[in-house]
Point group: C2
Chain length 474, copies 2
Amino acid sequence: MIELIVTLDRADPEPLHRQLERALRDAVRGGRLTAGSLLPSTRALAGQAGVSRGIVVEAYEQLAAEGYLVARPGGATRVATAAHPAAARRSAIAPASVDFDFRPGRPDLGLFPREAWLRSVRRALGEAPSERLGYLDGRGVPELRMALADYLDRARGTAADPGDIVICSGFSQGLKLVGQVLHESGARRVAVEDPTQPETGDDLRAIGLEVVPIAVDESGMQVGDLDAADVDAVVVTAAHQYPTGGVLPPERRVALLAWAERSGGLIVEDDYDAEFRYDREPIGALQGLRPGRVVYAGSASKILAPGLRLGWFVVPTALSDRVARAKLVADLGSPAIDQLAFADFLAHGELDRHLRRMRAIYRARRDALLVALARHLPELRPVGASAGLHVLAWLPPDVDEAAVIAAAARAGIRLQGVGPMSGDLGRRVPATGPMRRGGLAFGYGLIHEGAIDAAVERLASVLADIRRVAAEVG
Amino acid sequence: MIELIVTLDRADPEPLHRQLERALRDAVRGGRLTAGSLLPSTRALAGQAGVSRGIVVEAYEQLAAEGYLVARPGGATRVATAAHPAAARRSAIAPASVDFDFRPGRPDLGLFPREAWLRSVRRALGEAPSERLGYLDGRGVPELRMALADYLDRARGTAADPGDIVICSGFSQGLKLVGQVLHESGARRVAVEDPTQPETGDDLRAIGLEVVPIAVDESGMQVGDLDAADVDAVVVTAAHQYPTGGVLPPERRVALLAWAERSGGLIVEDDYDAEFRYDREPIGALQGLRPGRVVYAGSASKILAPGLRLGWFVVPTALSDRVARAKLVADLGSPAIDQLAFADFLAHGELDRHLRRMRAIYRARRDALLVALARHLPELRPVGASAGLHVLAWLPPDVDEAAVIAAAARAGIRLQGVGPMSGDLGRRVPATGPMRRGGLAFGYGLIHEGAIDAAVERLASVLADIRRVAAEVG
């Protein structure tokens, strides 16, 4: 017979029998009560703990029902052989610290409009009909689809039917949903820009599609190569090529739409950060020109915060039922309260207000970055429109990109190189042509304006070290 | 040359050139400006609209950059042939109206604790570090995983390591993530209860797993059949079988765990509504007995609202990295603000408070339903523990379930039958044994206590009609 030390607290609102159960369960889990060991009789334990026998009986019965204890006819109760101590809790791993974070494609989260968002949540919770909190439509809540159609038509030049908008959890999920629908319809090959963010190709390959890279020059994708590529669809960052920053010029836009008409192919327009244009207004979306051949894809990840996990795809009417169905199969729809809050946020002009504020801030950071690069690293060649959340700067041909990234990381500077975004994306080999040289993407979403000069100065000394070592070795 | 009627509003904060662009873009889209047609010169349009010529130039340039217009060298501007009128907006379809809604598995959304949830959102937005709004971990925010481990260990008897919890968007997504990981590890066959919710089998089949139904009796899954079924995993509603309402007794729990140990199989414990137990405290989770062999699956869909799209899977340590990775691939993680709000909601005891309130309400509805069934439909046989959000009642053997459901729908009563949840779930044929008869699942989440008697009385007259017609025909 084992000795049980059980402390019950009568002041605790938790009933005594539950306290007793918890103590016994923990003892089994913690290994203090081992499998097969005999428990005190209910009478003995009741006496010891100073409670009525009924409480002990209730606790034993509960734990027997749960499988921790086995009550034998005749009265003896033992710890079940099935019971088993839990693994110790694992501790969290602390992230590595960084002095200067230039990772691209990330907005300044410290400037997320928390107050305005909270006001929108309050209004949404105050006004939404109860059924919005129930099982959802694969397209998303109608309030948000209406508000987005208005916003996108006004700010992005789309021709968006709220009935053809599918709310998803960001570009990556939406692309996979569209890709699945295309794959089920017989599509096999999809063109992507080279370079571009590698996740785009990964997402497409994961659903069985073949990824065909199309080279990018300073004006974005070389759309003339599409015919020879023999693809069923193309993913394009027309308003602001990622990561080179080019803007697709009118003749290429026309040629791209003509390709889609001629081939029956689909254009997926990844409009990831077009709202951030600093020298003029952003180029309107391709989708507005050919809603039947273009999927417009936007998200909150750059303009608000990735943690919202909110994306919106405006899908050609012929496909929208199937994409909405795929969304339903994937996760039964995106959460309702954020959708309702974002609808309110749009309708109250809060997004416009936030974008106006952020444009001024990002533009100042961009300018500071370009000044610092010109001062400390004149051998780098920054390219791209005055737009977005990063600047791509090409390295001199004799400097190895990966070596710079690694040395910068050791010096407390986090950067992303263009190499992993380049070439045959499956094999990650460098492309030919102007992209053969390395390049650094300097994001300015996470770094304050005042820190940029010091960061670039430190990077310049990292580069100088690399060249000195290379010269000594060579 | 076409006539353009453009009205610009100087009081509008939108700049005049943007107003003009929008007007022109809409005219192209709406088909008023057809492809190829010649636009007025910038001078003529400026005069007509009463604005400076620069504004018209700016608007034409923007629309040319977007591809709506084509500016020819020499000055004439035409509507591009690529431009194309948008499809008319489609109107929403109104849902059919229902007098009495007995659909099972749905909570009362009118009683969602909006005020308390808003307080939690406010605290979460006030306290969360900025990085929580960034790109997310596949497991979910640590605050929620800690709060859930505490809650689940206390209320559901789990042994949950916060490091092994994966936040997902509900049971369906989580099951698919676990299923994918199992499939990649070579699993091919998964047992499910028969009857059960058909989506479980659908989700498993969608990822290439073979679904093996195991018959259920009044005590839940007949786990003795698992050895012969030769499966790699089993999905079980141990605390409250769906839809029959049985509770897996201790000896079956032990046998189920023994099967898992012996075969190396995995148990997925779908703990969908165990918090709603009315006659005693809920049976603790199987997971607490064998954390290494059981995936515990819970969600907010029954205890709060499906629209939150929040689920939590406590996964064996050996699998949790891969499940978290699968979540990241699926959608880059569930949204952050709801996760943070729910963590706060749990930590402030709001879920306990809500559950106490809802238990009293659902229990009263359940009692009213049983009284009404006994009074108006004594030939039905209600079964299952005093728990959950529905009662299953078996029909007499001579009554066709589908006919009752259809006739009830015509009479304004929405019900779900056990037939579509039964048998070989791929083929949807009725099982053998006691499940051969039809059954009706009466959910009471959506119907108020005061309406239950009238609803059951009306259903009784529907049944009487069916039997009278059957007797006349027979």
